[in-house]
Amino acid sequence: MAKYIIRRILWTIPVLLTVVLFSFLLMKAIPGGPFTREVSLPQQIVDNLNEKYGLDDPWYIQYARYIYHAVQGDLGVSMTQRGRTVTSIVGNAFPVSMQLGLGSFTLAMVIGVPLGVIAALRHNSWADYLAIFVASIGWAIPVIIIAPLLIYFFSVRWSFFPAFGWGDTERMVLPIIALGTGFTAYFARLTRSAMLETLQQDYVRTAKAKGLPWGKVVWRHVLRNSLIPVVTQAGPLLGFLVTGSFLTEYIFSIPGMGRYFVDSVTNRDYSIVLGLAVILSAVIVLANLVVDILYGFLDPRIRYD
């Protein structure tokens, strides 16, 4: 097991190198640069800036240089925000996105999964239909609609929660609900269908034929098997949520990674884009690793060595 984990962690190195390479090439492919302005700067100044940030070298030299510094923990400096290092920007934005993401993830797990379980156990009853109806709506409505509605009712009309910003708990409520609703609904549906499939399995009939009370059948024989597809989806989702949701962060003016990402692409702030891409892919790779390890505990047929 330890060997497997070490091997998987070593595998993230080529993955990250590739991610950086592609981000690099994609950024170069977009016309313009960090110093392109509406009022064009004198050529001399642009040349000087390009030289200072090393942008006058061929791309592979830049790539090599970036990797060389990155492995030493230096992700460079922002090209548009003077005097700020990428590490400090990411260091500020990442915890914010992580809180938002973990909050929404928790919502999806704590509400969505039990909802799916209940719907499946009450299959074809009004509770099932209601849960599926609500879940379908929740999954279908995008953040861009939910968020303004939440703000309108809960901040503007009833003044329950502040409409924007981040920091204290009450500011976190609306963004977490806005981002989490869709995933709560998604996980309710996923859990429900996984449960329904497991309930059809022969071994559930065997358990019933043994004379186990229904609660015990569900608890011992159905739940664990149903959780396998849920975990499959939960891992990448966690990575996705933690690395920031651009829309939610934008609507609620939250200083998270999603916003920085989009802003820095627009500004061609190459070093921030690369820095965020590295963090993002590292988190997703890590989340997938966690999922694969969890598999081993959930399903004994999967063993790593």
Binding site: D202, K210, L212, N225
Partner: protein, 329 residues
Amino acid sequence: MSHLLEINNLRTHFFTREGVVHAVDGISYTVDRGKTLGIVGESGCGKSVGAMTIMKLIPMPPGRIVEGEILFEGKDLTKASERQLQSIRGNDIAMIFQDPMTSLNPVLRIGYQLTEGMRIHLGMSKQEAQERAVELMDAVGIPAGRNRLDDYPHQFSGGMRQRVMIAMALSCDPKLLIADEPTTALDVTIQAQIIDLLEQLQDQFGMAMLLITHDLGVVAGVSDDIVVMYAGKIVEHTDTDELFGNPQHPYTEALLGSIPRLDDTRRRELANIPGLPPDLVNPPSGCRFHPRCRYATQICVDKEPPLAPYDGGPGHLVACWHYRDSREK
């Protein structure tokens, strides 16, 4: 002495979107203590549904027992509460299923799955139950059972898994064992071993057995009596020797004719039964076998034949207007 199990005019129907499936349509039979009843018929004739109805293991809805009684030791299981059924399932009546590959839970250890029933029904501690599990594994021919308690189902072969299923079924010393196609998913050499094992364990544990199969060869050596089912109904019911020696229903004859024989020196083609099993939503009128029966006449289309004693032996029931002896007269 009363019968251990008595089924009276049992009808189990499934209410589906396509209509009502008459899976089991008025069957009656009895099983006595220590005896074996074989139920034979082709796929989809309702034999498995009939067996699973006894323990109410069919999904309800869409399934429903629309009529009939299931008397187990005189008590009607169709009227039993879920709690009463739970105390009977796995305890008084145990079941083994067709596919041992999917009938064990892949994520739980064999030891746990084996001991679950004993801990619930017999109130054993984990240690006691494990001790008995090792004995049971020994009894069903799983070598070194003690070392295998912590293994998972995927570490067992198909035949070994079916042995685990059997050990599990026997764990609470049931009075009746329902074996639903216990050998169908296994290869031929293993089939024989499992059947021998069941027969030997039946003597050892003194239980009655309901053996459901599509394979007459499987029931031949084991059963005391045989019920032949077609399209949700019983078409012939008699003791094993009589059935093989003196089959009266054209369907039984056809089934017997479709078994290849090793000692058959004539190079004849293997007989088959023309046509397809009937649609149980809209079963044929009259005798349900008439569209595939070569002796069928107008009465077979118009009127359903009753399951009645055929002239010969007292215990030989046939549902046919033209049973063999009447044709030969």
